[in-house]
């Protein structure tokens, strides 16, 4: 039986299937010259692949990565463009914002009252819409995310358009080694961490008042109090989009 060069190449590349491939595999066992020709092609394939493999380990230049960074959300933007999980960018954006009269207030000034208000708002959702859609419920002295809040924390990526009124932003691993995520609705923003297969709400704060009183987008900047809560808990840096997806796909199990 004779073999064309193209057939040998296809075989070496894993492309010669069926009877012809099986016949060639059989023929090679008793034909050293034939086997040597196929082996040379396979070696060549390996050496060409190896010659370029190192590129994958090189850091991607910033100018390329920057092209694909999710654009920061405009506070009153109509298009859903939630910020990707980038704490530094979020902070930088906040620092760049105007120094209006309200921005001088620190969390300490109004934090306690705001927190109670936020909790009231959060529970208000529950009271207003009891049943399966409750955003939180109390279990064992903790506030556990439920309904669409639990769904969003479980499944939504920061890059996803916000749906059902809940958006998620930063995801990170906290100092106890559990995954935590920030979320926001039109009225509150909060931080929830994954404990024992459920999301417990760690802190909440009123959503920042939207500029010009426009309907607030779920993708608005995170309130400062929430960023501080993140700072207190975070171990290392926030997850990248790829890490976030991986964690989500693994069910937030570490």
């Amino acid at each position: 039986m004779t073999w064309t060069d193209d057939e040998l190449m296809a075989f070496a590349d894993g492309e010669l299937a069926g009877e012809r491939g099986a016949a060639l595999a059989a023929a090679m066992t008793g034909d050293d010259a034939l086997r040597a020709r196929v082996d040379a092609l396979r070696r060549q394939r390996r050496s060409v692949a190896a010659a370029f493999a190192g590129v994958l380990d090189e850091p991607v230049p910033d100018r390329l990565a920057a092209l694909l960074a999710v654009p920061p959300a405009e506070p009153a933007a109509a298009a859903p463009a939630p910020a990707v999980a980038d704490l530094a960018a979020e902070r930088a954006r906040r620092q760049g914002r105007g120094s209006g009269s309200g921005s001088g207030l620190t969390w300490a000034h109004w934090g306690g009252m705001a927190a109670s208000l936020a909790l009231g708002v959060l529970l208000g959702h529950q009271w207003a819409a009891p049943g399966a859609d409750a955003l939180v419920s109390e279990a064992g002295g903790r506030l556990v995310a439920g309904g669409r809040l639990a769904q969003a924390l479980e499944a939504r990526l920061a890059a996803d358009a916000s749906g059902q009124g809940v958006a998620v932003q930063l995801s990170f691993v906290d100092r106890d080694g559990q995954y935590c995520r920030t979320f926001s609705t039109d009225r509150i923003a909060g931080l929830a961490c994954r404990e024992a297969s459920r999301w417990t709400v760690q802190s909440t704060t009123p959503a920042e008042p939207a500029a010009s009183g426009a309907l607030r987008q779920a993708a608005s900047p995170l309130p400062r109090a929430l960023l501080e809560a993140v700072d207190e808990r975070i171990a290392g840096t926030a997850l990248t989009a790829a890490q976030e997806r991986q964690a989500r796909d693994r069910g937030w199990v570490r």
Partner: protein, 164 residues
């Protein structure tokens, strides 16, 4: 799998290392390769709606890179700035271990192939696409692809000599 622009963005971002690698087989310098990736990504972002969810995003990006590269080559010809074939080998003498020396020789040999052959080598031998997938990326018949690949491999073999 969602087809939202941000979703596609994130997935293209994850492909960047491979796009840079494919660029390295097409272009003769790393700088040109990254320029090509940049042009292709910019182009892709204007038409993420044209990618069909469920199909290979890498193939789609490779195709944009390939057509962008062809356009770029033609533009350079028109400008008569014939692309100086800087051969791979800027770091001659730096790499000391045998594997690195061989890798460098292979990259240099690939850089001496014709434009069509480099694309085929990059897609099949480096990126691991099947003949069918690579033919689709290049929009050529599979028969044309296999003959290009065969010629490219012969040329590489001639440049690099028979492996011991």
């Amino acid at each position: 799998m969602s087809n939202s622009p941000n979703e596609v963005r994130a997935r293209i971002a994850a492909l960047l290392p491979r796009l840079r690698r494919f660029g390295r087989t097409l272009c003769r310098t790393g700088e040109d390769a990254d320029d090509l990736v940049q042009m292709a990504v910019e182009k892709a972002l204007t038409r993420t709606d044209q990618w069909t969810p469920g199909t290979r995003l890498d193939s789609w990006m490779f195709r944009i890179m390939q057509t962008t590269w062809i356009d770029e080559l033609r533009a350079r010809e028109r400008r008569s700035q014939t692309f100086v074939p800087e051969e791979e080998g800027e770091h001659v003498g730096v790499d000391s271990n045998a594997a690195q020396v061989e890798a460098m020789a292979v990259r240099k040999a690939v850089s001496r192939l014709g434009d069509d052959q480099r694309a085929v080598v990059g897609l099949v031998l480096v990126e691991g696409l099947s003949y069918q997938e690579a033919a689709e990326v290049l929009d050529i018949p599979v028969g044309t692809l296999t003959s290009r690949l065969a010629r490219a491999r012969e040329a590489l073999q001639a440049m690099l000599g028979a492996a011991p």
